[in-house]
Structures are given as C-alpha cells and as structure tokens.
C-alpha cells in the first residue's frame, strides 16, 4: 500500500491557509473558494489536529453501491486509521457547504489521479477513457459501506484516440496470463528474466522467447521497447479476415415523415457521404422503406434501374428476393445513387399514416442474420400496425409523479433485440416526432444491441436550426469509426467482482458484454463490489479489453488498464474520491431505479445520497468542532451535482416534460461517456464580455488556448450588460441581454442592435476584430475537443428559447426544482434530525 504518512519535517512548504500547529480552522466561512481538485502530486502530510469521531446514525440508504439494504451501524468508533497527521491534505480540507458562496471552481474540475508507489500512476490511462470513483480503494467492504458512496468505474473504450494516445501493435504473440487471460500491461511484476506475475490473479507466467529481443536492433536487452509495458491503452491486431461492413437503412415513409421532409434530408446526406462510409471493398448497403407495407429495393448491379418489391403481408414477413436486397456499394454505386435521388419523389404524396416498425425490424433481422451489421431506423410516429404495434397513451405532461411509468409496455422489441444481438446486428434509432412515440418501449431495440437512440421532436425540414442539427449529427453518424461483432471483457483483481453494468449492451456472462457494434460516442459504467479484504494486495487493477472487427475487416483488441492503490485509512479514501465519477454512476443507478420502482423513489435516492454521504463523513472523519454540514473539499460539489441531477429532464417533476423527452434524457444519462455527462448535468458558463488577453494562454506546442474563468450557474452572477456562452456537452448557447453593449452585439453577431438578432441564429459571422476573434477561437476550441457536432444557438433574453438557457442554471430556483441554497437548507435540516 501507500507509505505511511510522514510525521513532520518533510521540508516542503506549508500550504498558505493554515500554518503549522495552529488550531483547526473554524467553519470555513471565510469565503475562500475550494481549491481545484487538480492538486494531486506533491501532497504533503503535515501534523494536524486529531479529529474525534462524533456518533451518528446510519441514515436511510440512498443508491450507494451494492449496500442498498440498510446496514446496522451502532455508534461506530473511528475506523482504523482516522488518526494523526492527515487533516491538512488539501482535498480533506473541510468545507462548510452552506457558507461557501461560490461553490463551482473557476477552472474546470479535473479528475483526481491515483498515487502509486514507484511513479506507476504515470502509466494510468487518460481519465476520460477509464476512471474510477475512488482513486484510493478501500481495503474492505465494511469501509466501503461506511462511506455510502458507490465504487464504480467509467469506461469510454472506443473513444476516438490517435496513435500516440493508443498505439497499435502487431506482435507475433500477444502475451496473456494463462489462467485469467489478462493481457500484459505496465503494472505486472517480473519475477525473473523469464517470468512475469499477473497483477489480477497473481499467478506466474512464462514470457515468450523473443520478448526481450528488440526487433529493430536485433539485440537482447531491456524491455523498454515493448510498448505494452509502457502504455496502458494499446490496440493489438490479430490477423484474420472477418465480416465486411454492412449498413442497412430503414426509413419510415408514412405521412408524418413525408410532411416533415425527413426523406429528402436523409437522401441528400447519404448521397453526400456515400463515399465516406467507413469500410473497404466489401462494404454493403441496403434500404428498406415502410409505412403500412414494406418496400424492398432490388439493387443488383445487372439491373438498369432499382426495382421496388412490396411486401404487404406484415403479419408474416418474408424476403421477396434471396439476395441483392443489400449489395456491395462499389458494384452497385450508380443504382444506389439513382435510388437515393428518386426516393423523395416516389413518396411525395404518400398519405398513409400507419407505420409498421416491428415488421420492418423483423425483415431486416431476417435479411442480415447470416452476416450481421448495423441497422439505422428513422421513425417518425408511433408504430401502430403489425407486430410490435403500440397503443397511444397520454404523453405524460399531466400525470402525477406516481403515474409516470418509464418501463416498456411490450417486450416485443426487447426480444427482437436479443435475437439481433446474438446475430451481431446493432440497431440505431432516430425518432422524429413530437407526439407520443412510446420511446421507453421502442428504445429497447437499441439498448440491448449496443445502438444509440436519438430524439428530434421538433424536426421539420423548414426549420433550419433543426434540419442543420440533424444533418450534421447524421453526417458524423455515417462517417465515424465503427467496430463490428465486438465483445468487451472487464477483468479486475481477485477479491473484487463486477456487480452492475450500465450502458447499451447485452450481458452475456458475468464479465462478458456483447456489443454487436462499437460506437465511439458511447460510454459505460460498472459497479464494483469488494468481496474479500484487499489489505494484503497493495494495488488493484482493472482491465477493459474490447475485441472487435474494424471496418477494414481486421480483428483488433483494444486494451485499457487502470491501477489503483489500496488504502485502509478512510481519510485517504475520502481524499482521493472523484466526485464527478460518483455523480455519473449515481445518475445511471437512478435511471435504473426509476424504471424498476418509480420516479419518486429515484429522486429520493438522489437526495439521500447527499444526506447519507455527509452524515457518514461526519461520523467517521470530521472533527466535532466543524459544523454539521461540512464535507471534504474533494466532495464539496456533491450536493450541487445531486441537485442538478434532480433538475434534469430525466428526474424533474415539472409538468412540462413529456414521457418521451424524459426517456430520451434517461437514455443520454445511460449512454453518454462521463465527461459529456458531467457537462450535461452541470454545464460550463463563460462570460464573453469579460474575455481579454489575460485569458489566453500559450500551450507547450505553441498553440494558443483560451481559458476563461467558469462562472457559478446562477442568475445572480449574471450582469444585465453581459453576454454569456454555455457549454452543455451536446451544444452551445450564447445568451444576449437586452442591455448588452451594442459593440459586443456587432462584433459577435454581426447585427446593429439587439432587436435585429434573428430568432434562430446558429452561425456567427466571421471574426472582424480581436474580441470576436477570441470568441470564435473559444468556440472552435470547444468544438475541437469533442468529436460530435456541437450546435450553436444564440438566445435572446426575450426570445422563445430563453428557457433552454435558464433551466440549466442549476443553482437557481426554476420550475424544475428548488434553488441551491434551499436545497442545502433542506439537507441541513435532515442532518440535524
């Protein structure tokens, strides 16, 4: 484990706030902002006052981890190790949450890093790829239960990484442990020159003969050239010919869809991207349109024109032609182009209002099941005909909280999804309807086939904002990296086990997740439970191995390994906790709870997490002189994050949220990787009017980076003369006040005065002077850091979109929930009961 904290005289400078030997700081109502938790290396442990444990009761349990049944805790004596010499650690600095006015830090929160002996923590992967809620693992499950916080890992395995971040290896032999099949990684130990010990099961293994030979120089020598030992994110290529890329598109051509102009937009974008679809010479494509009947298209290259084959028996779907319903792109390119150009015209007058989604999915399953692939569905209405037909229900705006039901109403789509998953077919769903589409039921088809669900309720081809948003999103969707026939295996050190899985996949066995398609925009989380005491193991490791077929037909394995130290001192665990990861996994658990029991339950559980965590901290770690409601600095954002979660569309009780948008918000929570999820929950707010040269920094590679300060998410801090930029993870908003100085409006928006700003402005004009150049640099920088498209919207203070911005100011009281201060008061009352 970690070396015991040194007692005194380390020779490092004392922290600026308290000197040595002073009495403990009183409730920190001094208005100091909590330090950013990026202070990790070079911590000093200084002698400080000894906290005494106060007695407390275990409160009602929230969602924290596998211990959701009430644990009996008598007035517990301080857990082993809450003793001297640790309280001046910056992360443990007690923060009286009620008195800190500016709880959000000025710079974006970074993930805390683990500290391992021997500098091994430098080998840990990028936290946005693989991170854990606790960077010092508690040694026993008793300790974990005391904290009432979940222990989980977040993984974004297929994130777009370039070769320097994730090197690609093609070794002759892939070195793996012979008992647990773990891939060799930087954290293994070498027993002697020919053997290594696995860090997950601790059994010795033999190295292959030529492990030491450097293939470039031909010399035997040290192993430093072996990339697998120096990088925790690597990708192996295993030689084999595997399946080609297969893309199949299902388009709803019922009246709803035609009226919105969906077909035209889709055909245009697909025509553009036809050459950019990832794949090689064997890539195949097919199209199926459906309303109350199914229309297949024979695209055999020998034909001069695409031929439409209509199947009207949707009760018992059959394939009208044995092959050539989906064809090789290169061979039939002309026919495909003709088809895409003619499709909008063919259905321009279609008045059919039924939509046989279930039959269309069954047909595509029958078609693709020998080979697998990706099915893209564009649906614009409730599927109301044929197998899988759903009934219309109230869209939920007027329902009371007990009546809101997020569980599926039919298991047709779930069973079809399991069949598809077994045949390596993934289904991605795009839904375009403002009326009730029963999203909770139809999104099951994507959830269990590792697809994604995208919801555009306001789409109409005449609304430029929506059309552009969909076009850009679809373009990214068609051209991004894709992996087929994938399985993901997550291994962890003995003594821990995987408990619950969150994300879009099907769990085929205890640690094997079946993903017919891997998607670079999806992330996953896994809860971990500690089965045995980890005290004797100094370091625990997690390895995520994603075995997939690349779009070129190569079989590849992407491996990420994370190593974390074990600690038996509760204070150290609290110091290294990652509050963003905790909020992310709690959000996912709350979504599970709202579909298994009820929405009210999950809201209560969110609140209880904040309450229980504070109570447990007070019981075990805090000194009796601190106020009731103090949290360590590493966890000080937890109440704000819990409140922001309760105000999200997914969990709010506000009456203006329809069932479908609520379901989509829950889908986002389950699908998004951690960093984007955190922005969605707690957006970044920048003051554009304050941008100046002091915010521009020069990075090492000579590039200039704009890093303005982050503002608190409350209207109190917004001036009437300001212009603000909000980054909410899926897009950007620019807020313009009526009284913003005219020069700013001119520079940024290119119009003369406030009244002239168009209602739906999504593009800023080219920068003309320093200020607008900085604004556009900031926007470009944010967009570059994400792989998906970030739509921009300029919101006027009196415009129709202003609620989009105001609802995201989570520290304020809106119709979605209480203000931050009221929430804290409520929690405080619960704490003092």
């Amino acid at each position: 484990g970690l070396p015991p904290p040194p007692t005194s005289g380390q020779g490092l400078p004392p922290p600026p706030t308290s000197g040595q030997g002073l009495p403990p700081p009183p409730t920190s109502g001094q208005g100091l902002p909590p330090p950013p938790t990026s202070v990790h290396h070079g911590l000093t442990y200084q002698p400080g006052p000894v906290p005494t444990a106060t007695t407390g009761l275990a409160g009602p349990t929230g969602l924290a981890g596998p211990t959701s049944f009430a644990t009996q805790m008598a007035a517990a004596p301080p857990s082993g190790g809450v003793s001297s010499a640790h309280t001046s650690v910056p992360e443990l600095r007690p923060v009286n949450v009620m008195e800190v006015r500016n709880i959000l830090p000025a710079q974006p929160l970074e993930h805390p890093r683990a500290i391992l002996p021997g500098g091994l923590h430098d080998f840990n992967p990028d936290p946005s790829v693989l991170c854990s809620t606790m960077n010092a693992v508690p040694a026993t499950s008793g300790m974990l239960n005391k904290m009432k916080l979940p222990f989980a890992i977040h993984v974004h395995p297929f994130k777009d990484l370039d070769r320097s971040a994730c090197p690609v290896l093609h070794p002759r032999v892939i070195v793996r442990c012979r008992s647990c099949r773990t891939y060799i990684n930087p954290f293994v130990t070498f027993i002697d020159s020919r053997h290594w010990r696995c860090n997950l099961c601790f059994r010795p293994n033999a190295l292959p003969e030529d492990f030491d030979i450097n293939h470039q120089t031909g010399l035997r020598g040290d192993r430093s050239h072996r990339v697998e030992l120096k990088r925790s994110s690597v990708e192996y290529i295993a030689p084999s010919e595997y399946m080609p890329s297969v893309y199949y598109f299902l388009i709803d051509v019922s009246y709803n869809s035609i009226e919105r102009g969906l077909l035209g937009v889709f055909c245009r974008v697909l025509l553009d991207c036809l050459d950019k679809l990832p794949g090689d010479a064997r890539t195949m494509i097919g199209v199926l349109t459906y309303d109350s009947t199914l229309h297949f298209y024979n695209l055999q290259s020998a034909l001069s024109q695409p031929q439409m084959l209509v199947v009207s028996d949707i009760g018992d779907v059959f394939l009208p032609s044995p092959n050539s319903l989906f064809v090789n792109i290169k061979q039939s390119k002309e026919l495909i182009r003709t088809l895409l150009e003619d499709l909008p015209g063919m259905f321009a007058n279609n008045r059919n209002t039924s939509s046989a989604l279930g039959a269309a999915l069954q047909a595509s399953y029958k078609l693709l099941h020998p080979i697998g692939g990706r099915v893209t569905v564009l649906q614009s209405g409730l599927p109301n005909l044929g197998p899988g037909a759903l009934k219309f229900k109230d869209n939920g705006s007027a329902l009371k909280k007990d009546a809101i039901n997020m569980s599926p109403s039919s298991d047709f789509y779930k069973r079809l999804a399991l069949d598809c998953s077994a045949q390596q077919i993934a289904v991605d769903l795009f839904v375009f309807s403002g009326q009730f589409v029963d999203l909770p039921t139809i999104s099951c088809i994507s959830k269990f086939t590792s697809g994604q669900v995208s919801y555009h309720p306001n789409f109409h081809h005449s609304k430029a904002v929506e059309r552009e948003k969909f076009e850009k999103e679809f373009r990214r969707y068609l051209t991004r990296n894709i992996g087929y026939e994938a399985v993901m295996r997550i291994r962890c050190t003995e003594g821990m086990s995987l408990h619950t899985f969150h994300g879009n996949f099907f769990v085929r066995s205890t640690d094997l997740l079946s993903l017919p398609n891997v998607n670079p925009d999806l992330g996953y989380a896994i809860n971990i439970s500690i089965d045995e005491s980890l005290k004797s193991i100094g370091m625990v490791c997690f390895q995520v191995a994603l075995l997939y077929t690349s779009y070129r037909g190569e079989r590849r394995i992407r491996v990420h390994t994370l190593a974390l130290p074990v600690s038996d001192q509760l204070a150290q665990v609290y110091a290294r906790v990652d509050v963003q990861a905790i909020a992310g996994v709690i959000a996912k658990m709350a979504v599970d709870r709202s579909s298994s029991s009820s929405l009210g339950d999950s809201r209560e559980a969110l609140m209880n997490t904040a309450i229980d965590c504070t109570k447990m901290y007070r019981t075990h770690c805090a000194s009796s002189m601190q106020s009731n409601f103090s949290l360590p600095a590493s966890l000080s954002l937890l109440p704000l994050l819990m409140l922001s979660l309760m105000k999200l569309r997914a969990f709010t009780l506000s009456a203006s949220v329809s069932t479908d948008s609520r379901m989509q918000a829950m889908n986002f929570i389950k699908q998004l990787p951690l960093d984007h999820l955190m922005l969605y929950v707690c957006p970044h707010l920048y003051a554009l009017h304050d941008l100046s040269d002091k915010d521009v920094e020069s990075r090492d590679d000579g590039m200039e980076v704009v890093c303005p300060q982050l503002l608190q998410l409350t209207a109190e801090k917004l001036t009437r003369y300001g212009m603000y930029l909000m980054d909410y993870g899926l897009g950007l908003y620019i807020w313009v006040n009526k009284e913003t100085p005219q020069e700013l409006i001119q520079f940024v928006c290119g119009v003369q005065h406030f009244g002239a700003i168009p209602e739906n402005m999504t593009v800023l004009p080219a920068p003309t002077n320093t200020f607008s150049r900085m604004v556009s640099m900031l926007i470009k920088q944010i967009r570059r850091s994400r792989q998906h498209h970030m739509p921009l919207l300029v919101i006027r203070e009196d415009g129709p979109h202003r609620l989009l911005f105001i609802d995201r100011l989570s520290q304020d009281k809106t119709e979605r929930g209480t203000s931050y201060y009221e929430f804290l008061t409520h929690v405080n009352r619960q704490l003092t009961k």
Partner: protein
C-alpha cells in the same frame, strides 16, 4: 373428510377410511416433485453465475418451470383445503401469497415466466434468486416432512380403526 364422506356410498366406507392417507401420500409425492424443481432451479442459477450457461438459455428453461411449479403448489393447497386439513392448508398459505405477489410483479413479457434475460445478470438479481431458492428448498423439505408425518398418523389411525 366429512364433506367427502357424505357423497360416498356406504359400501366403500371401509376403503375410504384411509382416504387421509392417500391424500397425504399424493401431496407428499408432489412436494418431492417441487423440491426437485427448486433444486434444479438453484443449480441453474449457479451455472449462470459460473458462466456455464448464457442468460437467454437460462431464462427459457426456467420460465417454462415457473407456472407448473406454482400450479402444483396451488393444487396441493386446494386439495388440502377441500379435504378439510386446515392446519396444513394454513401452513401453505404464505407461500401461495408470495407466489401470487411475485407473478404480479414480474417484468413485462409476453410469454410466461418470471425471468428476463436482460435483467438477470445483475449481481443483485442473482443474489435474490439464490436466496429465494434456498428458502423455498427449506420450506419444501419442511412441508415434505410434515406431510410424511401426517401420512403416518393417518395410516396408523386408519389401521387401528
């Protein structure tokens, strides 16, 4: 037994005097069948946890067993009620109530059964299934012993009359 007796002609009274015995014999054999079903259920859950079986197969097999098991138990309870054995009937009532509650709260599915392949792999769920399995095995063993005892009592009573 009084109600049944009124429907039976007097010449068969000699044979019917031992009806208690036959009822308990039948119930005991059904209890053995239930016991075997629960043991198989536990073995399947264990196989699931150790990766010898995938969730889809697990659910298909176990879902087919659920209604027969509940049906047999319901039949036992009704038979005991009809024959007037109040105490043993009351002994079965809690389990009957639990079965009804469980079936009403099953996940949404169009087929019969209680198990959904997508929810089965959570450790929380497998722990619940194991616990339920062990408790029911214990209950069925206990009820088997009770029926055996009652059967012996009925046999002795019939033989000494």
């Amino acid at each position: 037994i009084k109600t049944l007796q009124s429907f039976v002609p007097a010449c068969a009274i000699q044979w019917i005097m031992g009806l208690d015995f036959y009822v308990y014999l039948l119930v005991m054999i059904l209890a053995i069948a239930l016991l075997f079903m629960m043991v198989w259920h536990l073995i399947m859950v264990d196989e699931l946890k150790n990766d010898y079986r995938n969730p889809v197969d697990f659910c298909n097999t176990l879902n087919r067993l659920v209604l027969p098991e509940y049906g047999i138990h319901l039949f036992i309870a009704l038979l005991l009620l009809l024959c007037g054995f109040w105490i043993t009937f009351l002994f079965n009532v809690p389990l009957l109530a639990y079965h009804i509650w469980r079936y009403m709260h099953r996940p949404v599915m169009s087929g019969v059964g209680l198990y959904d392949p997508t929810e089965v792999m959570n450790q929380a769920q497998t722990v619940l299934y194991t616990r339920e399995g062990f408790i029911k095995v214990g209950f069925y063993v206990l009820s088997f012993l009770v029926y055996l005892y009652c059967m012996m009592v009925a046999l002795v009573t019939a033989l000494t009359q």
